[in-house]
Symmetry: C2
Subunit: 255 residues, 2 copies
DNA sequence: CAGTGGTCTAGACCACATC
DNA sequence: ATGTGGTCTAGACCACTGG
C-alpha cells in the first residue's frame, strides 16, 4: 500500500534528472502531503521510521533525515522511545510562547487571559484580499479580543479570517473551548497555523483602544500586524494587535 | 597532533557515563573551542570533514553532525565543493539583514547608510553593568549612530560597549572602515557577534530624538533594546535604537 | 583531474518508554 | 522483552568547485 513512484526507488538518485532533488526531500514532500491531507491528525503518532523506510523502499537514515527537517519546521515532534507525533497547538502551555511574543519586563513568564469581545461577519476589502489571497468581497470573520496579563489589559487584537475556512465560528463556540485560539482553530476547524510574518510599528492610541487598554489617549502603542500561514504557505489569518508596553515588551531573538 | 581525550575515542559512547553526552556533541565542543580561541579565523576554511574525522578518530558522519549544528548556529558556513568556512560579518551584504530588522513598508530591500555621530568614554552604571556582566564603574564606550534609509533618518542608535574589549576604538577609525559595524568589531577587535536578544517597546520622541529623526515631538517611536552575545553567551554589546515607523517597520518571522 | 561537501545504504548498538 | 527514536560506523557514489 501507499505505493508512490519515487524518482528511482531502490537505486540512488536518477541518472540524468533535469532538476535533481535528493531522495530525502522527496520523502519529506510525501510526508508533508499526508500531514496536509489529514491522513495523520494532530497529536497522533506517525508510523515508525522503520515502517516508513519499508514503505518507501529507502533506508531508515533517509527517512530520518526527512523527518529531521519536518521536526525542524515544527510540523512533527520527536519523542525518544515513544515515536514521532504530528505537532499540535493543544499540547503544552509552554509551546504557546511560539506565537506569543509579549513578555513581562521583569522577565517572568506569564500566561495572559484571553477574552473574546465579539465576532462579526463582513466582506474583504482590497487590502485584506491581498493579504489573505482572497477576492475583494469574499466573506470574512472579524474577531476582537483582549489579552490580560495579571489582570492588566495589554493587547487588543483584531483577527481577520476567511469565513470559508471557519464555518460556524461563533463567540459561544469559542467561549466553550478550553485552550489557546490556535488550538481552537486546529481542533474545531482543522486549520493548522504553521508560520507567521509580523510587521511592527509604533502608533498612538485612539480613543477606543485607549479605553480598552486603560492608557491615556495618544499613548504610544505597538502595532503588530501578522499574517499567518498554513500548509503550502497559504495565508489564513490576518491579525492586528495593539499593545501597551507599560509593563510588557515584545521579545525577539536574533540568531 | 591535536590529541584530545574524548570520553572514549574509537569506541561507541562510554559504558556507564554519569552524564552522557553524544560523541558529536563533544566534537562540536572541541570545534567551538578552536573557533573561540581564534585558531581558525573568520573567513578561513576549517579542515575538511575527513581530516577532522581522522584527527578525532571518529567517523566522518560524526564530524558531519557536529558541523551541521555549528552551521545551524551560524558559527560556520558550508560551501559544497569548496569547504567549510568560519562565519564572518564582512561577507555578503545580504547577510547584514540577519541583525537588521527594519524594512521598508513596501517590502523592498534597502540597505541603510550608517553615520557615526560620536564616540564617548564613560563608566558603567548598575543597569549597564547587569546587562553587560560588568561591575558598576567599569569603563565603557558609548557610540551614537544614525541610520538613513534612502536619505531619510530612521534609526537613532546608542551603542554601549565594554571598553576593555574595544581598546583604541575612535570615530576616525570607524569612519575609515568599509562595511558594517559588526564587521568592524570583528576585523578590528576580534569580537564576533553571534546572537542577540531584543526587547521592543513603544515610546514617544523626546526633543533631541525628534529632531534627529525629523519627526514631530511626541511622535510614537519603536524603542528596540538589544543585548548581543559572543561565544559562551558572553554579553558584549548593549544597544538602544529609537526607530520611526513612518515608512519602515520591524520585521519578524515566527516559526 | 582531485578534493570538498552532500546523499544514501546497511548494520550495529544505546537510551528511553511501555508493557 | 519489545519497540521507538538517537548515535555511530564504514563505505559507496553524486554534485560542485577549482586547478
Amino acid at each position: 500500500m501507499s505505493e508512490v513512484a519515487l524518482v528511482s526507488p531502490p537505486q540512488y538518485p536518477p541518472p540524468e534528472t533535469p532538476s535533481f532533488q535528493p531522495l530525502y526531500q522527496q520523502i519529506k514532500g510525501l510526508l508533508t502531503q499526508r500531514l496536509e491531507t489529514g491522513e495523520w491528525r494532530p497529536g497522533q503518532a506517525i508510523p515508525s521510521e522503520q515502517d516508513l523506510a519499508a514503505q518507501f523502499s529507502v533506508s531508515q537514515g533517509t527517512v530520518r533525515k526527512a523527518i529531521d527537517e519536518l521536526a525542524g519546521e515544527n510540523l512533527v515532534v520527536r519523542r525518544q522511545g515513544k515515536g514521532t507525533f504530528v505537532a499540535t497547538h493543544t499540547e503544552t502551555k509552554s509551546s504557546m510562547f511560539r506565537f506569543l511574543r509579549m513578555r513581562r519586563n521583569d522577565g517572568q513568564d506569564e500566561y495572559p487571559a484571553s477574552e473574546l469581545i465579539d465576532v462579526k461577519r463582513s466582506r474583504a476589502n482590497a487590502d485584506i484580499g491581498r493579504s489573505l489571497d482572497m477576492k475583494a468581497g469574499d466573506a470574512i470573520l472579524i474577531l476582537r479580543r483582549l489579552l490580560r496579563y495579571g489582570g492588566e489589559p495589554t493587547v487588543l487584537d483584531e483577527i481577520t479570517l476567511p469565513a470559508a475556512l471557519f464555518k460556524g465560528l461563533t463567540k459561544e463556540r469559542f467561549d466553550a473551548y478550553e485552550g489557546s485560539m490556535y488550538g481552537f482553530f486546529e481542533t474545531e476547524f482543522g486549520v493548522r497555523m504553521l508560520r507567521a510574518e509580523e510587521q511592527i510599528k509604533a502608533v498612538t492610541a485612539d480613543p477606543v483602544t485607549a479605553e480598552a487598554l486603560r492608557v491615556g489617549m495618544g499613548s504610544p502603542l505597538l502595532c503588530v500586524e501578522r499574517i499567518t500561514y498554513t500548509y503550502a504557505d497559504k495565508p489564513v489569518e490576518f491579525r492586528r494587535g495593539l499593545c501597551t508596553t507599560r509593563s510588557h515588551h515584545y521579545a525577539n531573538t536574533l540568531s
